[in-house]
Symmetry: C2
Subunit: 362 residues, 2 copies
């Protein structure tokens, strides 16, 4: 198939550092190429891909000192995409909502994966205004706040099978917290759980500027107060392997409706079980009692840690391989692409025949 | 003519308080209606107009507590506009660049007035990517930083003739500074000019949050240091009349490429001359020696104040009536609308004939 992938321009594909959406787009794109599809990637010009790259900005916007406003650059991308729309069987958008009024003429050959949270008040009237836009969710939970829209699929994220590999951590190792220091990720809960369980905790997390005062006033004092808690700073991709792979378990004590949570499947790929609060996508991603434990509060999290030995790292990894590889993600998407292309061809056939039919009636 | 006006949603039309673009759109819309045109205004739902209002958000976004992100609301507006595009002879956009990739199919029936500064680095590649988009500048100076684009006109702003009226201020009155407290508006220069000329200065200006420290550290100390300088705070439309109308002159000592500068023509409408630094639109808006003096530095401004008596308030007002009324603005725009509609009809005629011509060739 001739497939267009339209990525955000904030980071390159794959991102140099942080950037969940661009990572997923990159994994999907490379897998589709490997499967023999003809893929064009609309992305920042410093992206690295085996697909045809149509560069829509010289480099990733977050890396460009000249860039104040990302919007004009995305408008340039949309113009490029619209000009080339006829070249593709399917156009797959990952830029949330910017393209909605642009793709009117070929919306039936598009799908849009929504990568973020959908419970923001501005989004309700927006999606109500585009009830026909073909949308894909990244978890069933992500859909809950939405008005009736045209969901054409739900596709969980996936990682390349060999990117991360099973690691046999020491049973007496540490607990891991990985992500952003922010109130909705609840590092304070992670600390409370570790302290009550009497286990060491390592926190690897970046501190965004908006979260600096939360770190200063809420989290840093807790880290200092507890000898078993260590803050190791922000870590890169290459350090993740050791950090997550050597952990006894990942703590994911979120306090928000997480739409997916890539770190959970990263942990699973290393064989590291996940102790996760049952919000958002968690009940869909974690198989309770196999790849981790789903808990509702700190008490349950502490009790779950006592049962960690009942989980087998090989089984955790096996569940990753069954459910969260990029092959599975690409297969799910190709199923949707084929449905779209078939329906679109059928409509094209009908449209092409219509003048003839009408003439016959006359 | 059937005309669509597409306004920003930040403020209602006309704005309750600040909002230069929405004010101009409102003046133009009401004048077009008065001239007998069939006008549809796409704007916030609390707008007040004699045109048909197509409400694109329940109320002005800046007034809505629920609104975090203005973008989805503008996307909804674009969808509404695109659905109704066939109803109009001309569609006139005032939302900068958001619509550029949306209007591909009817771009030849549109014009876009650019209301802001165009020297931001993100805009150069954007406008280079849309070389055919029909654009209107609000001053010739505004065009300078732009790559080659499709300028179809230059239309200076205008105010309703009777909105502000000639006032015979006392010759020994104060100098006025009206605008934002910000480094590019240079209130510090206004103070220096007034101090050196030995004249009283009143500053009526709002202080945006980003400019608070500029006020605290640079301007407030100057105000306190000089007995002839008074800060009167932010003033509303109804207070402007007294503030500008009773002033001996308006000081406009800008240090940036002002694209238009509505306050200059407001002063002129009251008969108040303007002492303006010759940046941006100033040489196009002020007739040196008639409606004010154009200066290049503080020395020249001080010398110009000594010559104020050579200007006649009635002549200043007359120049406003000749050049900057809403009738003149609407006339300029209608000229452009007619050119667009005629060209578009001609293209439609050719397009309609093409199949016939082609059949003949076969």
């Amino acid at each position: 198939m001739r497939i267009a992938q339209i990525a955000p321009l904030a980071e390159r594909c794959p991102p140099a550092l942080y950037g969940g959406t661009e990572r997923v787009v990159s994994y999907l794109t490379e897998e589709l190429v490997a499967q023999g599809h003809d893929v064009t990637l609309f992305a920042s010009g410093d992206s690295i891909t085996k697909a045809e790259l149509d560069p829509c900005s010289p480099q990733a916007l977050r890396m460009s000192r000249d860039v104040i406003d990302a919007l004009p650059h995305h408008m340039i991308m949309l113009e490029k995409v619209a000009r080339r729309a006829d070249e593709f069987d399917v156009l797959h958008f990952h830029i949330d909502l910017l393209h909605a009024p642009v793709i009117r003429d070929f919306a039936d050959r598009t799908l849009t994966t929504l990568h973020g949270r959908l419970d923001l008040p501005d989004l309700q009237p927006f999606y109500a205004a585009f009830p026909d836009l073909p949308l894909v969710s990244i978890s069933r939970a992500q859909r809950l706040p939405m008005p009736p829209v045209n969901w054409i699929g739900n596709v969980y994220h996936g990682l390349p099978r060999e990117l991360l590999s099973l690691q046999h951590a020491r049973k007496d190792g540490y607990l891991a917290f990985l992500g952003r220091i922010s109130p909705e990720k609840r590092p304070d809960r992670a600390i409370e759980i570790a302290v009550r369980a009497g286990l060491p905790l390592k926190i690897a997390a970046k501190i965004d500027r908006v979260d600096q005062s939360y770190w200063d006033t809420c989290i840093a004092p807790l880290v200092r107060a507890h000898g078993n808690v260590e803050y190791v700073g922000e870590i890169g991709e290459h350090e993740k392997s050791h950090f997550l792979g050597q952990a006894r378990a990942l703590l994911f004590p979120i306090d928000w409706e997480e739409p997916f949570g890539l770190v959970m499947i990263e942990a699973m790929a290393y064989g590291t079980p996940v102790i996760a609060f049952g919000r958002g996508s968690v009940p869909e991603v974690i198989d309770d009692g196999v790849s981790g434990f789903i808990v509702q509060n700190v008490d349950e999290a502490v009790r779950a840690l006592a049962r960690l030995d009942s989980l087998d790292r090989t089984s955790v990894r096996a569940r990753f391989e069954t459910r969260f590889t990029v092959e599975r993600m690409a297969r799910d998407y190709v199923d949707i692409y084929e449905r779209i292309a078939t329906a679109s061809q059928a409509r094209g056939f009908i449209a092409a025949r219509r003048p003839m039919l009408e003439r016959r009636v006359v």
